[in-house]
Subunit: 348 residues, 2 copies
DNA sequence: TTGTACGCGTTATCAT
DNA sequence: ATGATAACGCGTACAA
């Protein structure tokens, strides 16, 4: 007979636990009077077990709160059941719709989503990519990021499926789903021109994508014979305050501006606040158009006209691409332009 | 109007690579003419190597783009160098500041942060916790979440250090850093009363924490002999539109209300918009106070008076606690109340 | 239907 | 200073 010299536990409702460490598959096997393999099957192929045995094992798993070790199974299977999303910042709510739908779609297929932040710092980007690759995710989704040369090389060497999103670049690492920022710039300029505006302004972030939009917007105005557009750049990330200051700057420089395109809804909200503050009627004296069609756009005063980007669709497509790849299925369209539309409300 | 420029597809570009699979430590060893152990040491204990050998190995690592497999090392070491953060939503109020600082502090110690979303769905919570525990993180940070019974049991059985944040509950699973929601309710009521208000309203979310704040706020008003406060509940998550509708509801029910406490800055921004829309002067005719002191609070019109919560400090403390635990150091204060303050601006 | 042997890639330990 | 060995926990392949 064995006399355990161990300690006593006075915690209420503490399940019986053999030791101080979390249980592993072998512990469950012992408790259920079966081999480790039978426990493994109870989890992954329950239909192959005798119902009676299955129940015994399940009871043991539940009572011991056994949770399989994904490091071990991932190593064995070379599948981590994990997908990583890399983005510049969580602060801008622009990406949330995308993340949400990506997460949801991946969960349906038994994948978990891991989120990594680069913080707009290109120098740290390669380090983050390295850290992500270490976990051997089954796929990587890059959101609104341009990978550095080193980052691209790492991603390619890793053989991990990569989906770049948000930006419809010409040189995709692997797969791509996004929209054309230059088409957006043109479309908004055309929208203003069609509404009779001739003095255009723009409040914009100062990253590479934003510059593409600005250039297209300015070029469309020029092509229509309009005077040069006035641009105010704001530092990333986009904030309400940035929108206020951007609009104030434009109006100070050129008070005759009657239409302003803001490169995010947050900036546009700031522009609305500033216009209100300066006593300008929107849209009668000043038209404002945003970008993103975020949740709040419909509830501003006046409701915001904005460029709608279907983040949900991007997330869904990115998830589909990665899932197809991991199943070795062909990806019919590895490069997708999801386009955009202009949601017409009252602000411009 | 739609600007979908169509869907393009082309064959994925096949990158140049010697082999068809990512290289492992053995491949690097072969290339550098050393054993696998020497490569491992070059990465983890470079000082123990002959400088000449070290350089050879490093060159091989760089040229092959070798990235260690964290599943294998995590399995071997029982340390995943991973910390998980669980939260209801990314959209949330001050969560972003917290996440940012948590991520930053953990990176300093060589940990990576994994983010999991529950989406306010208590039913899925246990599943997410199970999915997280599977990865054997070195710590788990719960942000603004109340774990279900099953979730708590899983966390305890896992033996993983857990820090609950945001909410200063009485029954912590393990460690805790937060603030008292009931103290906040009292403080804001006292603030309004000190400013001469007697007709108080509140726009609030409808989760458990929010109800605690509401109860404390209402009780403080009652204790001061004020008429009963009018409360409008809005569904999660907090939105600008919810704030507008909440305030409209309160004013419709009791037009004599002169001060409204909103349980997030986003709701407060909506209240400001609605007040403006209804032609109410803030703060002369209606005082508005928010919660969170988010980035935009200082730039609203008028600037928002709000309850400041130091998310950065919470993240820092949570990281410290987890790091101490993984080093088997004692955690001097496993339960911390970081308090709050009222940032006085012009809105109330 | 259930069990045994082996290997996934890495690193601590011990040996040289 | 460097190498050989074993073990981390799990699941496939095969055997019973």
């Amino acid at each position: 007979m064995d006399y355990d010299s161990g300690t006593f536990s006075h915690l209420p409702h503490q399940p019986v636990q053999a030791s101080n460490r979390p249980s592993k598959i072998q512990d469950v096997a012992r408790a259920a009077g079966v081999s480790a393999m039978t426990v493994s099957r109870a989890i992954n192929h329950p239909e192959r077990l005798n119902p009676e045995t299955l129940q015994r094992v399940r009871d043991a798993i539940a009572s011991m709160r056994y949770v399989p070790n994904a490091l071990a199974s991932g190593l064995r299977l070379s599948r981590a059941r994990l997908v990583a999303a890399l983005l510049p910042t969580l602060v801008g709510p622009v990406f949330q719709e995308l993340i949400q739908s990506l997460d949801h779609a991946l969960n349906q297929h038994g994948y978990q989503l891991m989120i990594g932040r680069t913080g707009y710092d290109a120098a740290q980007e390669a380090d983050l990519i390295r850290a992500i690759i270490q976990r051997r995710p089954d796929g990587i989704v890059m959101i609104g990021m341009a990978a550095s040369e080193e980052g691209r090389a790492l991603l390619q060497a890793s053989r991990i499926p990569v989906v770049e999103t948000w930006d419809l670049t010409d040189s995709a690492i692997d797969m791509l789903v996004g929209f054309s920022h230059s088409a957006i710039g043109h479309a908004v300029a055309a929208h203003f021109i069609a509404n009779g505006h001739r003095q255009l302004g723009m409040v914009s972030g100062d990253d590479a994508r934003a510059r593409v939009r600005v250039a297209a917007y300015a070029q469309a105005a020029q092509a229509a014979g309009l005077p040069e557009v006035t641009v105010a750049y704001t530092p990333a990330p986009s904030t309400l305050g940035g929108g206020r200051r951007g609009l104030a700057e434009i109006l100070a420089e050129r008070p005759e501006v009657t239409a302003v395109f803001c490169s995010s809804d947050t900036l546009a909200l700031g522009a609305l606040v500033e216009a209100q503050h300066q006593g300008l009627q929107v849209p009668q004296q000043l038209a404002v158009v945003g970008l993103g069609d975020q949740e709040f756009a419909k509830d501003t005063d006046p409701p915001l006209t904005t460029v709608r980007l279907d983040g949900t669709r991007i997330g869904q497509l990115a998830a589909d691409m990665i899932v197809a790849r991991t199943l070795d299925q062909p990806v019919d369209a590895p490069r997708v332009d999801i386009g955009f539309s202009i949601t017409q409300r009252s602000s411009g």
